[in-house]
C-alpha cells in the first residue's frame, strides 16, 4: 500500500520511503519519516495533489510523490 492510494480520512503508518535524493531529503526534513502516522485529508478538485496531516500540520504533495511512500493502513 502506498500513500497515494489512501482515500480521504484514512490513516496510515509510514513503513518505507522509496524516494531518493532531494525528494527523500525534503520529505524527511518536513517530518515525513518512517514510523510516522499520516492522515489523508483531502484530494484536490482535479484529483491531484493530495493533502495530508503529518506531525500536526498540513502538507500537500503530488500523487507521484506520494507513491514512493509505503504505508500500512491504520484502523
Amino acid at each position: 500500500m502506498n500513500l497515494a492510494k489512501l482515500s480521504p480520512g484514512a490513516r496510515g503508518r509510514i513503513t518505507k520511503i522509496g524516494a531518493i535524493g532531494p525528494m527523500k531529503r525534503r520529505l524527511m526534513d518536513m517530518g515525513v519519516l518512517v514510523g510516522e502516522t499520516v492522515t489523508v485529508e483531502k484530494i484536490a478538485p482535479l484529483g491531484d495533489p493530495i493533502e495530508i496531516t503529518v506531525k500536526a500540520y498540513k502538507l500537500s504533495l503530488r500523487k507521484s510523490e506520494a507513491e514512493g511512500i509505503a504505508v500500512e493502513v491504520l484502523p
Binding site: 527523500k24 483531502k42 484529483g47 498540513k58 502538507l59
Partner: protein
C-alpha cells in the same frame, strides 16, 4: 563575563553586531523582521541568484545591529537554493548571533531547524513567535525548560503586534556580545552516533587542522558523516575519505538506514523529545478555523469556482486600483512637466534636439517608469496578501493538476493571469514560485498572454476590417495566445527543461490575517526597488529609442529616418505574411517600447503630412509637434496597458483618432493580412519594460533573449500559416 563585554563595547563602540534571522517558511519571520526594522529594510537579491535578501541596520541602546534575513527554510540540507544560501551564509560569514524564529503552534517541525542551527556552534536566540495563537489554542509552553534544554534564550513574541521585540533584542545583544552566560548545550544524538561524531571530530583536528579552524567542528563532523555533497566538494575530501567513511558505514549497517535518514530521524527524535517535555496541549482539540475554511475552499465542487472568483477579484483590484493612478502620473508627465521643460529649454536657448531629448527621452522615460509603479504596488500588495494569508498555497493545491500538465506549478497560474493585464507585474509575480525552473518556465510563457496594451492594435484593425465580428476576432486572439502557451509549455517541458520535476511538496499553512503594516512595508520595498533598479534600465532604453527615432536629426521624410530604414530593411521578411510594407515593419519595431505604440506610429507614418505644412510652424508649434511624437506616446504607455477590458470604449476612442488615416490602412491591408498582423503583434516579442522586468527578476538577459527568440519564430510561423492557409482557402491576400 559581563565586564569583558562592557570593556569590548567601550573599546570598539562602533562594532556592528551581525545577526542572521532564520526560520521556517510561514513562521512569521518576515513580519518579525518588519516589526524590528520597519522602513529601514533594504530589499535586494542574494548574489547570483533570484532569491530575495533583506537587510537592515538598526540602533538599539547605542549599539548598531545589522539584521540579515535568511531565506525561509525547513532545514539546512544542500538541495534547495534557499537552504544552500542560508547555510553558506551561516558557515562562511559566521554572524555574531542567530535569531531562530519558531512558529509556537507547530513546535516540533520548527525545532528540527533549530537543532541544525545549534550544530553550527553560533549563539542562537529562539523567538517563539505566534505565541498568542498558541495560547489561544490552549497550548502551554514551558519556556524556562526549553531554555535549559536548548542552552539558548527563548523569547515569546507576537510579531504582528510587536510584542516581545525589546526582550528579543536584549537577548540578541547579550548573545552576540558573548555576555550571555550559557553556551549552546550539545544535544546528544544517541549513543553510537555521538561516538561517531566524537571520533570524526578527533580525526579532523588531527589530520586537517585547517578545516577544524574554518568550519564549526561539530557541524563539520556531522556533515562528513552524512556524506553531505557540498561539504565534501568544498573541503576537497572526495567521496571516499578516511575521516568518516568507515564510521558512517558502521552506523548504516547497525541501523539499516542511510546516513541522511538516520540523521533526520535523530534530529526529529530530539525535536519530538523536547516538544514532549515543554509543551502541554489541551486534550480535546476542537475543529479549527483553518479546517472549516478549507472544507469550503478546497471542496471538490466549490474549490475551483472559489479560486476563479478570488483570481478575478485580484485581477480587477490590481488593475482598477492601478489604473487611475497610472493616468494621473501619466497626465502630470505628459502635460505640465513636459511643457515646463520645453519652456525652460527655449528660455536657455538650448538646441532643439536637446530639448527634444530631454522631454521625449528623459522625461518620457521617467514617466514610463512611474506609470508602472502603481501597478507594481497593487500587484505586490495582493500577492503578499495571498501569501501571508495562506491562500496562495491553496491556490497552488487547486490548480496544480492543470498547470502540471503543461510542465508548470500550481502557483504559475497567478503570474500568467496577471499577464493578461500587463506582462510587467506578471513577471515580477513569478517570485511566488520557489523553484528556479518553475519560475523561468512561467516567465517564458507570460508574453503569450495577450496584455492590455495589445488591445488598441486589435481594436484598430478589427474596427476597420471585422467591424461586425470584432469581439469574436479579439477573443480568438486571446485563445490563440493561451493555446500556444500550452503548446510551448509542453514543448519546453520536453526539450529545454527536460529532466526531473521540481518537488511540489508544500506546507498548507493555517490561515492568518497579515498585518496591514507588514503588507505596506513589503509593498513599499518592492515598489522602491522597482523604481530604482528597473527605472535605470528603462530610462536608458527610452533614450536609446529616442535616438533611433529621431536620427538623422531634422529628417523630413519618415522613410529616411533610422526607424524608416530599419523598417525598409525588415519589410521583405514580412512579405510572406501579407504585410511587407516598411510602414508596418517600422510600427512593429516601435512596438518594442510598448505595444500600443504600434498604433501611434501607424498614425504618424500613415498620417497626412500636408495639414502640418499649411503654414510655416513657429518654434512653439514645432515643439508642440515634437510633443505629439513618440515621447508622449511613451508616457501614455501605462494608460492603455491597463484598459484591459474596455474593448468597446477603446474602439470608439480609436474611431476619431484614426479617421484621417484609416483610408491608407484599408488600402495597404486586406482582412486576411490584418488578421496575420494582429496575430504577429500578439506573439512577436515582449516589450521594453517587460524586458527590464526579466533582467531585474532573473539577473540576466538570457531568459528575455529566449522569450524574444522563440516569440519571433513562433509569430512568423503562425502568421505565415494563417496568411498562406487563408490564401489557399481563397480568402484573398
Amino acid at each position: 563575563m559581563k565586564t569583558a563585554a562592557v570593556l569590548r563595547q567601550a573599546l570598539s563602540p562602533q562594532k556592528v553586531l551581525t545577526v542572521a534571522v532564520a526560520g521556517n517558511p510561514n513562521s512569521g519571520k518576515s513580519t518579525l523582521i518588519n516589526a524590528l526594522a520597519g522602513t529601514r529594510l533594504q530589499v535586494g537579491n542574494w548574489p547570483g541568484v533570484t532569491v530575495e535578501k533583506k537587510e537592515a541596520v538598526l540602533e538599539y541602546q547605542g549599539r548598531k545591529i545589522r539584521l540579515v534575513d535568511l531565506p525561509g527554510t525547513y532545514s539546512l540540507s544542500p538541495y534547495s537554493q534557499e537552504e544552500v544560501i542560508a547555510r553558506d551564509y551561516l558557515v562562511r560569514e559566521k554572524p555574531d548571533a542567530i535569531i531562530d524564529v519558531l512558529d509556537a503552534t507547530n513546535l516540533e517541525r520548527n525545532l528540527y531547524l533549530t537543532m541544525q542551527l545549534l550544530e553550527l556552534g553560533l549563539p542562537v536566540v529562539a523567538a517563539l513567535n505566534i505565541f498568542d495563537e498558541a495560547q489561544n489554542k490552549g497550548y502551554r509552553i514551558d519556556t524556562g525548560a526549553m531554555e535549559e534544554m536548548l542552552g539558548a534564550k527563548v523569547i515569546p513574541t507576537v510579531a504582528t503586534r510587536k510584542r516581545g521585540m525589546e526582550e528579543l533584542l536584549d537577548a540578541v545583544v547579550d548573545a552576540g556580545e558573548g555576555a550571555a552566560e550559557r553556551r549552546p548545550r550539545k544535544l546528544p544524538y544517541g549513543g553510537d552516533i555521538e561516538a561517531a561524531v566524537t571520533e570524526v571530530e578527533k580525526k579532523v583536528t588531527d589530520l586537517y587542522p585547517h578545516l577544524a579552524e574554518r568550519y564549526p567542528l561539530r557541524w563539520l563532523a556531522l556533515k562528513l558523516l552524512e556524506g553531505d555533497r557540498q561539504v565534501l566538494q568544498e573541503t576537497n575530501l572526495g567521496d571516499h575519505h578516511a575521516l568518516a567513511g568507515e564510521a558512517s558505514r558502521h552506523l548504516q549497517q547497525a541501523h539499516g538506514e542511510d546516513m541522511e535518514a538516520l540523521m533526520a530521524d535523530a534530529r526529529y527524535a530530539q525535536a519530538a523529545g523536547l516538544t514532549r517535555e515543554v509543551l502541554r496541549k489541551p486534550e480535546a482539540s476542537r475543529v479549527e478555523l483553518t479546517e472549516k475554511i478549507d472544507r469550503v475552499v478546497l471542496n471538490r465542487f466549490l474549490g475551483i469556482p472559489i479560486f476563479l472568483l478570488a483570481m478575478w477579484l485580484m485581477f480587477k483590484l490590481t488593475f482598477d486600483v492601478g489604473n487611475p493612478l497610472v493616468d494621473w502620473v501619466d497626465g502630470v508627465f505628459s502635460g505640465p512637466l513636459t511643457r515646463w521643460t520645453k519652456a525652460l529649454f527655449i528660455w536657455i536657448a538650448a538646441p532643439e534636439w536637446l530639448g527634444s531629448l530631454a522631454t521625449e527621452g528623459v522625461i518620457g522615460g521617467v514617466g514610463t517608469v512611474l506609470t508602472f509603479v502603481p501597478l507594481i504596488f497593487a500587484m505586490m500588495f495582493f500577492i503578499t496578501f495571498l501569501e501571508g494569508s495562506g491562500y496562495m498555497a491553496r491556490a497552488a493545491f487547486v490548480m496544480d493538476r492543470a498547470m502540471h500538465a503543461l510542465g508548470l506549478h500550481g502557483k504559475s497560474f497567478i503570474p500568467m493571469l496577471l499577464g493578461f493585464g500587463c506582462n510587467v507585474p506578471a513577471i515580477y509575480a513569478t517570485r511566488t514560485l520557489e523553484n528556479p525552473r518553475d519560475k523561468v518556465l512561467t516567465a517564458l510563457l507570460i508574453p503569450l498572454m495577450s496584455c492590455g496594451a495589445k488591445l488598441p492594435v486589435y481594436a484598430l484593425f478589427t474596427g476597420l476590417f471585422f467591424a461586425a465580428h470584432s469581439t469574436t476576432v479579439i477573443w480568438s486572439l486571446y485563445v490563440l495566445g493561451i493555446v500556444l502557451a500550452m503548446a510551448m509549455g509542453i514543448f519546453f517541458k520536453r526539450t529545454l527543461f527536460r529532466g526531473e520535476y521540481p518537488l511540489f511538496i508544500m506546507e498548507l499553512p493555517p490561515y492568518r490575517l497579515p498585518s496591514l503594516k507588514s503588507l505596506m512595508i513589503h509593498t513599499w520595498e518592492k515598489g522602491k526597488h522597482f523604481l530604482i533598479k528597473a527605472g535605470t534600465y528603462i530610462l536608458g532604453m527610452s533614450i536609446l529609442m529616442w535616438f533611433l527615432l529621431n536620427l538623422p536629426w531634422g529628417v523630413k521624410d519618415k522613410k529616411d529616418s533610422v526607424l524608416g530604414r530599419i523598417g525598409q530593411g525588415l519589410a521583405p521578411i514580412f512579405q510572406p505574411l501579407g504585410f511587407g510594407q516598411w510602414q508596418a515593419a517600422s510600427s512593429l519595431v516601435t512596438g518594442f517600447i510598448a505595444k500600443e505604440i504600434v498604433v501611434t506610429t501607424m498614425g504618424q507614418i500613415y498620417g497626412k503630412e500636408e495639414e502640418k505644412q499649411e503654414e510655416p510652424p513657429t518654434l512653439g508649434e514645432d515643439l508642440k509637434e515634437i510633443g505629439l511624437s513618440l515621447g508622449k506616446a511613451i508616457t501614455e504607455a501605462g494608460r492603455n496597458v491597463v484598459a484591459t477590458f474596455g474593448v468597446a470604449s477603446l474602439a470608439v476612442e480609436e474611431d476619431e483618432k484614426t479617421a484621417s488615416w484609416r483610408g491608407a490602412l484599408t488600402e495597404q491591408f486586406s482582412p486576411l493580412s490584418a488578421l496575420t498582423f494582429m496575430a504577429f503583434t500578439l506573439l512577436y516579442m515582449p516589450c521594453m519594460v517587460t524586458a527590464v522586468a526579466f533582467r531585474h527578476e532573473f539577473g540576466t538577459w538570457k531568459w528575455f533573449g529566449l522569450a524574444t527568440a522563440y516569440g519571433l519564430v513562433l509569430a512568423w510561423l503562425v502568421a505565415f500559416a494563417i496568411y498562406q492557409g487563408g490564401r489557399l482557402l481563397g480568402l484573398g491576400g
